[in-house]
C-alpha cells in the first residue's frame, strides 16, 4: 500500500493534471446529490494511446489519441444516473452532474463533501511512464521482432508487427469522501506471420502484453514472441479439423483460462445474479466441482493486464475466490451488488472509460494447482484433443452455454499426441463443464497474451490462466465422417 504522504502527493499531482481542485469536486458532488441520490462519484480520466505498425519491412504508420473527461454517476438503490463531460470547467461539470442527478426525483441540500486523499496498492508503477518514451525508442522493438520472425523460417512471406502503448491518469472522488489517484500503463507487441508452403498459405500470430514499461521487452522476450508466432503458423500446414462431436478436452496450461472466463467468470458477475439472470444465481455455497478445483479472480498480479490498484469506483482490490475446493464461494461485486447482497465490494467495479458507468467485471481469472500431472492427464485420454491457443469466446449467462475458439491444438490417440488440429469452436454448458473437470495438474500459469473482455459494449483488459486440466466431455466442432 502507498503511505498517506504519497497518496496526498499522487492526488495533488492528478488535480493539477486535470486542472481542478478539491473544492470544485466537492461542489460537483453536492450538485450530483441535489435531487436526493444515495451516492455519487466522479471519474476523471486522461488517456493517451499510441500505436505503430511495421508492414512489408517499413514502419508504415503510427497513430495517437488523447481522450479526457469526467464521468459523473448518481445511484439511488440500484438505479443509475450518468453523464459525462469532456470539458472540465466547473460550469460544464455541474451541468453533467445535474443530468446524472435527475435519476432521483426529490430535492435536498447536499452539503459539500470533505475529501480525503486515499492510498492504494502499487502493482504496476513502471520505471518510465509511456508519456516519457519517444517513438524513436519504440521502433527498434518492432524492427528487431520483424527480423527475427523473417529469419525463423524460409517459408515466411509476410510479417507485420504492431505496437500499442497507453498511459492513463485516473482520479476518483466519491460521496463517501475518498479521493484516489491512479496511473495505469499498458503496452502490447503483436507479431503476425503469413507463410506459403507447397502452394498453401497459412497465417497466425502471437503477442506479449501487460502493464509493462519498455524495459520489459528485452531481446529474450522478442525472440520468444517471433519464434512462437512462426511456429504457430508453420504447424498449421500439418493441422486438420478433428472429428465432430463430444470428446474429452485437455486444456493446456496458460491461455486455457478462457474456459473459466466464459464458463463461470461471467456467470459469477453479481449484476447478473442480483437480477436473477445468471445460471449461478442460486448456487452460492453449493458443491459445483471436484475438491481439487479452486477458481480465483484476482486484481493482485503485478504488471498483468488484469492488475488493478483500485477499482473504477474507488474500492480496494483483492483476490476473490469464486470456487474453493469445489464449493462456490463469492460473486464479483460492484458497489450496487455489494449493497444488494450486504457484503463488502470485491474491487470488481470496472469501466472502459469515463464515458461508461462501472459494472462487475473480471480481472485475472485462473485455476489453482491440482494434484495430477500433465503426463498422466494426457495418458488418461483414449481419444480426444488438447486445446492450446485461442482467439475468442462467448457465453449465454442464463442458459449457461459457452464457447471458445481453438486456433492450435492436438489430437490425442491412446494417450499420445498424434497430430496437430486447427480452427475449431468448442461449446459446452457452464455448470456441466465444472462438474466434468476430472483432473487438474500442478503447472498453473497466467497467459502472457493480451486479452480483452467485452460486456454491455464496454471493453476492459483482463488476464487468464490455467493449469493443465481435463474436461471429460465438451462438444468439438469438426467434420462428420
Amino acid at each position: 500500500m502507498n503511505d498517506t504522504t504519497s497518496a496526498v502527493d499522487d492526488v495533488r499531482a492528478d488535480l493539477d493534471w486535470f486542472g481542478v481542485d478539491s473544492a470544485q469536486i466537492a461542489r460537483v458532488l453536492a450538485e450530483a446529490l441535489s435531487h436526493g441520490g444515495d451516492y455519487a462519484d466522479l471519474y476523471f480520466q486522461h488517456a493517451r494511446d499510441n500505436s505503430i505498425v511495421l508492414e512489408d519491412g517499413i514502419i508504415s504508420r503510427a497513430s495517437s489519441s488523447v481522450d479526457q473527461g469526467v464521468g459523473i454517476r448518481v445511484l439511488v438503490g440500484d438505479q443509475t444516473g450518468y453523464a459525462y463531460s469532456e470539458d472540465l470547467s466547473l460550469a460544464a461539470m455541474r451541468g453533467a452532474a445535474r443530468t446524472a442527478a435527475s435519476i432521483a426525483r426529490g430535492s435536498r441540500e447536499a452539503p459539500p463533501q470533505d475529501l480525503t486523499p486515499t492510498g492504494h496498492r502499487d502493482l504496476y508503477s513502471i520505471h518510465r511512464g509511456w508519456d516519457d518514451v519517444a517513438v524513436a525508442e519504440k521502433l527498434p522493438l518492432l524492427q528487431r521482432t520483424e527480423a527475427l520472425a523473417r529469419a525463423a523460417d524460409e517459408h515466411v512471406v509476410k510479417v507485420s508487427i504492431s505496437w500499442a502503448d497507453s498511459e492513463e491518469h485516473v482520479l476518483i472522488a466519491n460521496s463517501d469522501g475518498a479521493l484516489i489517484a491512479d496511473r495505469r500503463p499498458m503496452s502490447r507487441l503483436w507479431c503476425s506471420v503469413t507463410a506459403i508452403k507447397d502452394g498453401e498459405t497459412q497465417s497466425n500470430s502471437w503477442n506479449l502484453a501487460g502493464r509493462r514499461g519498455i524495459d520489459w521487452y528485452d531481446d529474450e522476450r522478442l525472440q520468444e514472441l517471433a519464434t512462437k508466432a512462426v511456429a504457430r503458423t508453420m504447424i498449421l500446414f500439418d493441422a486438420k479439423r478433428p472429428p465432430a462431436g463430444e470428446l474429452p478436452v485437455v486444456l493446456a496450461a496458460g491461455a486455457s483460462g478462457i474456459l473459466l472466463h466464459e464458463a463461470i467468470g461471467h456467470g459469477m458477475e453479481a449484476d447478473f445474479n442480483r437480477k436473477g439472470t445468471s445460471i449461478y444465481a442460486t448456487m452460492l455455497d453449493q458443491k459445483v466441482a471436484e475438491d481439487f478445483v479452486t477458481i480465483v479472480d484476482s486484481a493482485l498480479h503485478p504488471n498483468e493486464r488484469g492488475a488493478l490498484n483500485v477499482d473504477d469506483e474507488g474500492n480496494a482490490t483483492e483476490r476473490t475466490v469464486l470456487v474453493e475446493n469445489g464449493v462456490m464461494r463469492s460473486y464479483l461485486h460492484d458497489r450496487i451488488s455489494a449493497k444488494h447482497y450486504g457484503v463488502e465490494p470485491t474491487g470488481s467495479g470496472r469501466r472502459e472509460s469515463f464515458r461508461h458507468s462501472p459494472l462487475p467485471r473480471m480481472r485475472c481469472t485462473y485455476m489453482e494447482n491440482g494434484p495430477h500431472t500433465r503426463e498422466e492427464i494426457i495418458e488418461s485420454v483414449d481419444f480426444g484433443i488438447v486445446a492450446e491457443t485461442f482467439t475468442n469466446g462467448q457465453v449465454q449467462i442464463g442458459a449457461g452455454d459457452f464457447t471458445f475458439y481453438i486456433k492450435n491444438g492436438w489430437l490425442i490417440e491412446k494417450g499420445k499426441l498424434t497430430a496437430p488440429i486447427k480452427d475449431v469452436n468448442i461449446i459446452g454448458n457452464g455448470p456441466e463443464a465444472l462438474r466434468r473437470i476430472t483432473m487438474v495438474a500442478g503447472d498453473s500459469k497466467l497467459d502472457t497474451g493480451g486479452w480483452t473482455c467485452g460486456k454491455e459494449g464496454q471493453s476492459v483488459p483482463v488476464s487468464q490462466g490455467m493449469p493443465t486440466c481435463l474436461v471429460s466431455s465438451l462438444t468439438v466442432g469438426g467434420e462428420n465422417a
Binding site: I58, I59, R61, S64, Q68, Y82, S160, N392, Y405, E479
Partner: protein
Amino acid sequence: MSAMRDELLQRAHDAVAMAQAAGADDVVASAGWGRSLEFAWRDDKVEKVQENTSKAIRVALYVDGKFSSHGTNDLAPERLRHFIGQAVELTRALEPDPYRLITPSELYEGRSDVDLDLVDKDLTADAEGAMTRDERLDWIRRLHDAAHADDCVISSTSGMMDSHGISARVSSNGFAGDMERTSVWFGAECTIQDGEKRPEAYRWVGGLHRDGLQTPEEVGAECLRRALTRRGQHKVTSRKATMVVDPEAGAGLIGRIFGALSAGSIQQKRSFLAGKLGERIGSEGLTLIDDPFIVRGMGSRWWDGEGIASKRMPVVENGVLSNYYVDTYYGRKLGWEPTTGGASNIVFAHGDKDKTGITKDVGDGIYVTSWLGGNANSTTGDYSFGIRGHLIENGELGEPISEMNVTGNYLDLLTKLTMVGNDPVPWSAFRCPTLVFEGIDFSGL
C-alpha cells in the same frame, strides 16, 4: 444544425492549417460532434438514464513521405496546436513509405448529391416534437411490460438509445464535406426460468428514423416469444444437414467474407479470396451489391473514409466475384485502381419467399436463429461457429437445440447456397434475407 456543421467545418479547416504550419505536406482533418441519450427500464422501475455530448478532432498527416494519424477531444486552441505540432514531429521519426499518399483529388470528383434522408428531426436535440424524457420512459415501460408478460419471466430489461452526430472532413488537396445523421434503437431482453436453466432472448429494432419501426408492444412481445421458444433446449446428434439462416443471423455468417475481400488482406496474403476476381466463388443465387445510396440506409454515404466519391458496386454477381474493396494505399501496393476501402450497405438479390415459406420448402434441417461465439480464418476460409436454433421437422420449426457447432470452409459453403429469401433485415447496413445451405457439418452429441 447548420451552425454546428459550419463550426465543425471551420474546426477541420483550422486543424489543416495548424498541421501545415507545423510542417505537414498534406493533411486530412475530421471534426465530429455527437449527442446520445440512453434510457433503460428493469422490472418495476427506471434502471438507468444517461446523456452525453462529445466532440473530437482527427488529423491524418503526410510529412516527408511519412504518415501517421492522431485524434483528441482536448480542443482548447493552444493545446490543440501543441498536440498537432507534436504529432507532426512524431511523424518525422517514422520511415518513408512511397505508397502512402493523400487520396488523389480526382477520386473526390463525381460526388452524388442525392438526398439520403439521414436525419430524423424528431431525434435532434431541441427540435419541436422531439420525444420528451417522460415519453421515452413510457415507451420503454411499455416495451418492458410486453416482454415480461408471462409468469416464467425472471427479469426483463428494456431500453432506448438515440444519437445524433455530425462530422466534417477537410483535406489539404481540396476535399470538404459534412455529414449529419440520427439513429434510434429500442428493444428488450428477458430471462425465463426453465428448470435449472435460465434461457434469455432479446429483440432490438432500429433505424435512422423512428417512424416505420414496430410499436413497443410488438417488439416486447417478440422478445418474450423468442425466450419462450428456448424452453426445453437440448443437445442433438452430430449430422450433415440443410442449414436455414435467419435474416438477423445472416450478417454474422456472410459478413465474414468481407475481410477477405479487402485489398489489404490480399496484399498481406491473408485472404482466401485472393486471385479469384472474375471467378465463380458461390452458387448462382449469390449476388451481393454494395449500394451507398439507399434512402435512410444505415450504411448510406456520399463518400467513403478516404473521401472517395461513393458509387454503387457489384461485389458478387450470380456467384462470380466482380470487385474487391480497394483503398488507395493497398491499391498502389498492388497496382490496382481503387474502388472503395469498405462496405456501405450490402444488398442481396432476393428470392420470392420469406423464412416461413422457405422453412416449409426445406422440410427437414436446422434453423439458425443466432451464433454463439466461433470464428473464421480469413487466410484459409475455415470457419467454426456455435449456434442457437431449432430443428426443422416437416417444414415447421421444432425443438430448440443447444451446444451445437457448425464447421466448414467458406469456399465450400458459398457453393452450397441453394435458396435466398425476400425478407432482408431493414435496419442493418447488411441487408441479408433468409439463406439456405445444403450439406453442412453440425457437431453435437
